[in-house]
């Protein structure tokens, strides 16, 4: 048991690091990098969703802003890509604090709507602000590694995304063990009660919102550098957010590795559906049906399914028997 719980993650990590060298061709490296990117994003989504239970369908806004921020800094100010990436992620985090203050005022379903609105709004802003962002023409970001050929670029970004994923996992793990995390979980269960026990719920929620935005923004920035073309209607898309949510839920929002596992399943499965059914729109239906089935039959996620079933309340027999003896005798 001990070995399984320690050893498995190490083994997986080793495999992940070796993956680009084991992959028979660069396309699989590319697909791997994309999967890791989604894993990193859904893990960071889970910093908000898993702890506080606030379902955001708006995280692609941070993805897009991170991407555009990085791209614009590189193009307009010519700063080195690392600086651009970090500065843009920081700015997005600040922005997320502002948005968070307004957004976390509503709970449950309304929050979902607000987050959807956030994506639509950012899409409109970026699309409308043609002079800065290039509008609907999109933004072409120069590659940070012009000397590498395409396959090598995929390798580099595979490791960059892997590092980001590691960072996100570490953060989640750390938060889950901290008092901050305990407070966030309490918020998920009962906000007013948490408040009365001294949890500053407002600050916590905004902090979780911003933290989770930070990693998504970093992923967006890396994406911009890797991919090279940005188009507002695609980076600010509810579909990207939905993927984060789907992956997290499928794996299990209450587990460190839930979103990662979800990503490892969803990304290849999506690929499979497209290739197998791609000639008609029926693959959308297939995805939709899978989503429905997950929600209906695995609402707690795969990991919860595999590891533990809630035993339900049980009455401690001995203690009650003792109690009864005094009466019946």
């Amino acid at each position: 048991m001990r070995i399984a719980s320690r050893g498995l993650p190490l083994l997986v990590a080793a495999l992940a690091i070796a993956y680009p060298w084991l992959a028979p061709n660069y396309y699989l490296v590319y697909a791997g990098a994309l999967t890791i990117m989604y894993a990193a994003m859904s893990t960071s989504w889970n910093l908000l969703g898993g702890f506080t239970g606030y379902v955001s369908l708006g995280h692609s806004a941070f993805f897009g802003l991170g991407a555009y921020g990085t791209g614009l800094l590189v193009i307009n100010l010519g700063v080195p890509w690392v600086v651009a990436l970090l500065v843009s992620a920081l700015l997005v985090t600040l922005f997320a604090v502002g948005v968070g203050i307004a957004a976390v005022r509503v709970r449950g379903a309304s929050f979902v709507i607000v987050s959807i609105a956030l994506v639509s709004m950012m899409n409109l802003v970026v699309q409308g602000w043609r002079s800065l962002t290039g509008g609907s023409t999109g933004l072409q970001v120069p590659s940070p590694f012009p000397d590498l050929h395409r396959g090598q670029t995929h390798m580099v970004f595979f490791y960059l995304f892997l590092a980001l994923l590691g960072l996100a996992l570490l953060t989640w793990w750390y938060v889950s063990r901290s008092r901050f995390g305990a407070g966030l979980r309490a918020i998920r269960e009962d906000e007013d009660k948490a408040e009365s026990l001294g949890v500053p719920t407002g600050v916590y929620k905004v902090a979780a919102f911003a933290l989770s935005a930070l990693f998504v923004a970093l992923a967006g920035g890396l994406y911009a550098l890797w991919f090279g073309s940005l188009d507002p209607i695609f980076v600010f898309s509810i579909l990207i957010s939905s993927y984060m949510v789907l992956m997290s839920l499928l794996g299990g929002v209450r587990h460190l590795y839930g979103p990662l596992l979800g990503a490892l399943i969803v990304a290849p499965a999506g690929e499979y559906f497209l290739i197998a059914l791609g000639e008609t729109q029926i693959h959308l239906t297939a995805t939709g049906v899978v989503l429905v089935l997950v929600v209906l039959f695995m609402p707690e996620g795969i990991i919860a399914r595999l590891t533990r079933k809630r035993a339900g309340p049980s009455i401690p027999d001995q203690s009650a028997d003792q109690r009864l003896q005094g009466v019946v005798s």
């Binding site: 005022r105 979902v112 839920l249 729109q281 049906v289």
Partner: protein
């Protein structure tokens, strides 16, 4: 000046359309606590059915209503009983988003498969005429939409607030066990509630078909707009949603004629955030605050 007047008139009429399209949402969302992302997808499903009836029989699209409305009612009952009812109540909000998102994708895929990706439209002679009062033109299609919206909302209001069924529905959602104990058949009632919501989608879809061409992916643009209306109006308030719809319709129309289309679309979200900052429970209605 006359341009402003024209913008205002168009805004009011368009607001009516929005109110119609959003009315079902305020039912699921406010009364049944289900975040129904698939509502616009159902609207377009209805539009496609209307199109089929219209082209097959050559009749006025409104004559499709006797077919689509009962059909959607039954569909709604089925969706509720087979899918939504299985969600655990403690995370209904989260799970219903995903569930209905999945439903929306399913519908889009099916529409694409059966009707192909190409645009369909229903055009009637009367839909492009307009009534002219002074300098202001009032398009008939929008007037019809406005009228249908008024009618639908009135019916919905009567059903939800005044009728026995409406009371039973609200009781069911608020405390299921207690509702069963006063003699309400809760499963049936919840199913019917959803059915009524989808029935409004059938009406909305018909009107939409008359006004705009559509293709399977058309529903995406509507999700954000309609949801914004519901939040600004205050969850659960049919009247609030209607007023918010008209308000936003007018703002959109006026901003469009004075500034530009991007800003006009943005207004929905700007108002949404303003609402949150000023009155998170919405302007016209809203759920009870918690008792401690």
């Amino acid at each position: 000046m006359s341009l402003l007047l024209q913008g205002l008139a168009l805004g009011v009429l368009t607001g009516g359309l929005y109110a119609l399209l959003a009315s079902g949402l305020s039912l699921y969302f406010g009364v049944m606590r289900v975040v129904m992302v698939a509502h616009p997808a159902f609207l377009f499903l209805a539009a496609y059915l209307t199109y089929t009836v219209h082209t097959a029989l050559g009749v006025d699209p409104f004559l499709a209503l006797p077919i689509t409305v009962p059909l959607f009612f039954v569909l709604g009952v089925a969706v509720q009983r087979l899918l939504v009812a299985r969600l655990a109540p403690e995370n209904l909000a989260m799970m219903s988003v995903l569930l209905t998102f999945g439903i929306a994708l399913t519908i889009e895929g099916l529409l694409g498969t059966f009707y192909t990706g190409s645009y369909k439209s229903v055009s009637m002679e009367y839909a492009t005429k307009s009534l002219t009062i002074g300098d202001v033109h009032l398009p008939y299609d929008k007037i019809i939409a406005f009228g249908v919206a008024g009618l639908t909302l009135a019916v919905l209001f009567a059903v939800l607030v005044k009728s026995r069924f409406g009371q039973a529905l609200r009781a069911t959602i608020q405390h299921r066990e207690a509702a069963r104990l006063v003699g309400i058949q809760t499963e049936r009632v919840a199913g019917y509630g959803f059915g009524v919501g989808l029935a409004t989608a059938a009406v909305g879809g018909t009107v939409l078909a008359l006004i705009t061409p559509f293709f399977p992916a058309s529903h995406w643009v509507w999700i954000g707009k309609l949801m914004a209306i519901i939040v600004v109006g205050g969850l659960g308030s049919v009247v609030g949603a209607a007023l918010a719809a008209i308000l936003l319709g007018v703002v959109e129309g006026l901003v469009l004629v004075t500034v530009d289309a991007t800003w006009a679309t943005m207004m929905f979200y700007v108002f949404l955030f303003l609402t949150l900052l000023a009155r998170p429970q919405g302007f016209f209605g809203g759920r009870l605050a918690h008792r401690f």
